[in-house]
């Protein structure tokens, strides 16, 4: 093998890897949509009433979000490396904990109060939004 062939093979290998890796970078959008979804369900739980309407809309939005996003992720032509997926585990845990704390503190004491639920929704979405931003930069 000549040096030119070796250099050409290296370039070809790098290009192929980059092309397919780029198709596996859909996780930024996935995380971003879940961040928005968590903010939405937080607002629904805090601001919507009566109770039956709140729970119906919360269940519908949550169901559509999870089923839709899992189906969308499965339909992607390339799946990111396992290690890459675990990089955003902290964001899922962070959003989950903040969501739980927000509900624990705000329900029922703050129900209907925009001044509590709007900042709380932003706070809940923050870890996943930050992870989405980080994935986009990667």
């Amino acid at each position: 093998m000549t040096t030119e062939q070796a250099a050409a093979d290296l370039v070809r290998a790098r290009q192929s890897a980059e092309q397919v890796r780029a198709r596996a970078q859909w996780s930024a959008r996935y995380l971003g949509v879940f961040a928005a979804g968590f903010a939405a369900i937080t607002l629904i739980l805090g601001l919507m009433h009566p109770f039956w309407l709140r729970m119906s809309v919360w269940g519908a939005v949550w169901g559509v979000l999870v089923v839709g996003m899992v189906a969308w992720a499965r339909s992607q032509p390339a799946q990111p490396e396992g290690s890459r997926r675990w990089r955003s585990a902290w964001a899922w845990a962070g959003t989950g904990v903040l969501y739980g704390v927000t509900l624990w503190v705000g329900d029922p004491a703050q129900l209907g109060r925009m001044t509590y639920w709007v900042p709380a929704a932003v706070l809940v979405a923050l870890p996943l939004a930050a992870a989405a931003w980080r994935e986009r930069q990667a």
Partner: protein
Amino acid sequence: MSAGRHPRHGLDELLTNGVRLSIVSALSGVERAEFALIRDTVEITDSALSKQVTLLEAAGYVGVDKGRVGRRPRTWLRLTTAGQQALTRHLGALEDIAQSAGRLAFVLDGHTRL
């Protein structure tokens, strides 16, 4: 000359084929990729890719998983640990060969200036 001293001894025979190297490289940065995506990336036909994948699968470099997404059948390709190791070795050898040219050019350049 003893075996293994020249960088070409580090080359993997199966990966000296450009198409197979591209397939394995394409799979190196993802957990798995669809057959169609690899076909389009490497720019070959379905049958040509099937043939190369069969060879790579027999060598233990690539795994093939069949499944469905909704009603659509899908074939997924993934790089095995053995495939990853072979690719790393092969790319290392290619880099050594490519760099040896640089060193040679440097030596020759220095020689002509003396």
